[in-house]
Symmetry: C2
């Protein structure tokens, strides 16, 4: 099937999907849930082939872990996710503004689906279920293009999802899973039929897509996130937040990469913060005034240290005069993803929240919360002191 046919089919299905009621869309999700559940063994068999291929090709263990649907209740939480979305309130048709402009002239702003989404992602096969659920619930058609590592799992799940939809009012072409063989470049040219591209994956993937399509792209490539520690602060909170932001999942784009410490914080507390990083095996790349500890985990910051996404157990650390300098530094050096202030002073927090030009700004919270699927009980960090 050509990319144009795929895109056109998705667009036609959208015309139908957008007229369905919330009940009809949620029922379709229930049907997908049932059908995936019934076919669990078939899906896990396909997944096993992908896993074996990955091992044969000597792919990294973290990639193999992401591929594996059978472990740690991943399959069941994937299924539960579908029901969770089905049970959400209807996101479509909500009146978000109502205004009487004149006698007999009323203006309403009403939420509506976007249209056709092209979602390109990497190895995790459970993403199919997440995206299918969110797309159908919100009345959007989706074309899903997964990574080749999970080809067998995709192929089987794709067939099951389409079979399930054929028993519902949602057109089965509303969700199309494109196998790795199809050419993504052609899909990126279908701006007549596709409304939004959402890439999920590495920097390289996102950058490549951004520079190869005229369709609007919802995505971020870099994640240079910062934490500013104000002088009026709670050191226990600070240490928990910094360690969680750095070590919970350093490869995530919402992991912190730079730490700005107010210079009025007493030197012994500065040392304590650094020691906490060291205790957690984080290498601190510090400016000269912060070389307070001799350790293999303390290194000199370099010229590019504050424009760098480590994605590892590394962090750049520097002193700043005050919140104003921190704000200026962040607006210049951050990738505008997620930033955090640690302070007990509300006016300073409000200034920071208002002045930073990033998508998410946090007050006394880990940058790692910039991830819809993180569960709060995962926040268990062991910190000395």
């Amino acid at each position: 099937m050509s990319s144009e046919t795929i895109a056109k089919d998705a667009n036609l299905s959208f015309s139908k999907l957008k007229t369905l009621s919330n009940e009809e869309r949620s029922q379709a999700l229930q049907e997908i849930y049932n059908t995936l559940k019934e076919n669990k063994s078939q899906i896990l068999q396909a997944n096993e082939i992908d896993l074996k291929n990955a091992e044969t090709q000597n792919l990294s263990s973290s990639l193999i872990k992401r591929l594996d649907l059978s472990k740690g209740g991943k399959f069941d939480s994937m299924l539960q996710g579908i029901l969770d979305v089905a049970n959400l309130p209807d996101p479509v048709g909500k009146i978000t503004l109502a205004k009487k402009l004149d006698d007999g002239l009323n203006l309403y702003r009403v939420t509506a689906p976007i249209g056709v989404l092209l979602i390109i992602f990497e190895s995790r096969p459970e993403v199919i279920a997440n995206i299918t659920a969110l797309a159908v619930k919100s009345g959007n058609s989706a074309i899903l293009k997964g990574g080749k590592e999970s080809y067998q799992t995709f192929k089987v799940m794709s067939g099951i999802v389409n079979k399930a939809l054929s028993n519902t009012k949602v057109p089965s072409k509303a969700i199309q899973l494109i196998e790795s063989r199809e050419d993504v470049a052609d899909l990126l040219n279908q701006d007549k039929y596709i409304d939004l591209v959402i890439p999920r994956g590495s920097n390289e993937l996102v950058r490549h897509i951004k520079s190869n399509t005229k369709i609007p792209v919802l995505g971020h490539a870099d994640g240079i996130c910062s934490i500013y520690v104000d002088s009026n602060y709670d050191i226990v909170k600070a240490k928990r937040i910094i360690v969680d932001s750095k070590t919970n999942y350093p490869a995530g784009c919402n992991a912190v990469e730079q730490l700005l410490i107010n210079k009025n914080i007493p030197e012994e507390e500065q040392r304590e913060i650094l020691q906490t990083l060291i205790d957690n095996k984080v290498t601190a790349h510090v400016t000269p005034d912060l070389k307070l500890i001799e350790s293999e985990y303390v290194k000199d910051a370099k010229d590019d240290s504050f424009d760098k996404e480590y994605l590892s157990f590394d962090i750049s650390v520097k002193l700043v005069d005050d919140a104003d300098e921190a704000i200026k530094h962040i607006n210049e050096h951050s990738s505008k993803h997620t930033e955090c202030i640690i302070t007990e002073d509300e006016p300073t927090a409000n200034k920071f929240l208002k002045s930073i030009d990033s998508a998410g700004i946090y007050w006394n919270a880990s940058t790692r919360f910039a991830d819809g699927f993180r569960r709060f009980n995962e926040l268990s960090i062991s910190i000395k002191g």
Copy 2:
């Protein structure tokens, strides 16, 4: 000054502007209002030079009319517009979602400015005042690039706006008026500093900009707008709405270009609707089944009649079986700008409002309302019968 410097200055100014209070932003608008008012004669003198140049170059009379700031109270309503915007409630910092995610973990969604806007428009010089007011009020920096026809007026107004801002807390580089000499192509490359491009003007301008920048563009090129007349309808309303939508300003992108009439409307009423178009000097390009009147204003629809933006006193007209066929036709042929249904039947109206995939969808209202600045008392249409 290089385009990069202009864009960088706008970005730096934004960092300051976004921290200002609503009062500080509104005061700056008051200052701009005062200064423009004081310098009225200087501005009108410059405007006269532009007008003379336009006449010398034999530009069209409609263009010259758009250029002229001195007639019909245009200058004063331009000034009043600034105060109207200043007095609006603060659009920044509004909490649009507040949610307690967990104990001590609160999520807020807060309205924030976009950043740096690049606004490219054609001849109307009063646009400077409109955009400056809206940008400053909403905390955004703006780079304005006007057409060469109003060069003298722009130059003078630019100086006045910057002088006015220098007496306020808003950085004067927050609003930069770029004269025609600067190269817009260079500005379109400043994606590091510019967040959004808004082109206002002809199809050609918008298309050119869309295909020459990686910065997101807020704009629409075509305006193929439709009206569907349902069988359960009020003929007087229908005639008023159709005539206003077509004749109020046919060159506008929100003028109607195609009319879909339910085939169950009695033939004599179909004839009455066509006659109303003829009485208003509108040429109807009709399908064979609608050749009900012999007139120089009634012509045969051609193959491309329903994919055409006339921008003149012309309209394509066809019969449809029902609302479903109208919806299908519109979703296929419209440019997704503005569509209208004329019906007294609420379920049919709701179906239409939900199924059409366009930016604005109207129920018993002229498509010409898709324009923020239209005043309701302008709606005075003379219709026979």
